[in-house]
Symmetry: C2
Subunit: 206 residues, 2 copies
Amino acid sequence: MAPTEIPDIVIGRLPIYLRALSVMSATGQEITSSHELGERLGISSAQIRKDLSHFGEFGKQGTGYRISHLQEQLRRILKVEREWDVALIGLGDVGHALARYGGFKDRGFQIALVFDNDPAKIGQPVGSLIIQDVALLPDVVQQRGIQVAMLAVNAKSAQAVADLCVKGGVKAILNYAPINLSVPNGIRVQYIDPVTHLQRMTYYLA
Amino acid sequence: MAPTEIPDIVIGRLPIYLRALSVMSATGQEITSSHELGERLGISSAQIRKDLSHFGEFGKQGTGYRISHLQEQLRRILKVEREWDVALIGLGDVGHALARYGGFKDRGFQIALVFDNDPAKIGQPVGSLIIQDVALLPDVVQQRGIQVAMLAVNAKSAQAVADLCVKGGVKAILNYAPINLSVPNGIRVQYIDPVTHLQRMTYYLA
């Protein structure tokens, strides 16, 4: 089945399944079921089975899923059995938190380049990397063949920086700036904005 | 219509609409359409009209939406015409970034309490707040009637801290730790995990 035939909402749940499986596998568990996964994630077991059925057969009726096999298959589907180099732009609080974040390792990503536009920051080290001038981004990113970027810049700069990323060949942008980006067709953007998540919950509060 | 009848996926889109309207309104724009909103957000105009129709009539056929009115109504629906006090737990990189984040203001939230379990941090100031011992969280949060918490602790501590929040009466948790939380029915959890967003995009990369 061609990738485009599977709804993006289904794709969006696969990383959640993968994360839950990793937690189980870290405790030595070897087998799980759609029922157990569903309980853990607050998703119906029918939904989980339906989501996975888009990609083939991962378990046998009544015997559940072998966790390591399902992890392997999900990593392959999501293309994170390899490691993606990521460009990080903006070395403020959020950028530094991301640069130090331990959660990328073994999940398919590593920060390979860091950029800022502040002359006081350019040339400074962040871990084992050196902050580069964001003006150089299109060339450097293109040279390295980097397709994934994380934007941790302010709302005012975000669109201009996104344009630089697109110019450099970036195809996937994770945006921390609280602004919607305008990008050409074929470029993916995901947003991390704590307020939208908070507002989704206050709806239910008394 | 009772809140429970509206799918959570619809509720999840309302904050995105509200954010886009704020951007428009900041530039002085007064009227928009489902078509323009849809173009900006990559959502079909039919979907936007359908989402909004759950809550009544916000525009007239052919004349579009008055932005300020729609903002007001969305704020009311999402219960962010008021300001919610939020407890922030964990003052590492992410916690500090959140404490300094300018994006909460005028969007319904303010950080009112900060907690950590590190004796070296407890008693220290963060902006105008003093870091309190997380062991005191249930009492302090209950006393202040706080219903919203942000967890910026590590994966190992997250479940225990979530339990403390629930004990204190918290009803909505925004979790930055890369782990799924187990909470009683009626407690909402939203997750911020950059890797799940990145993995959702790499699926589409070549």
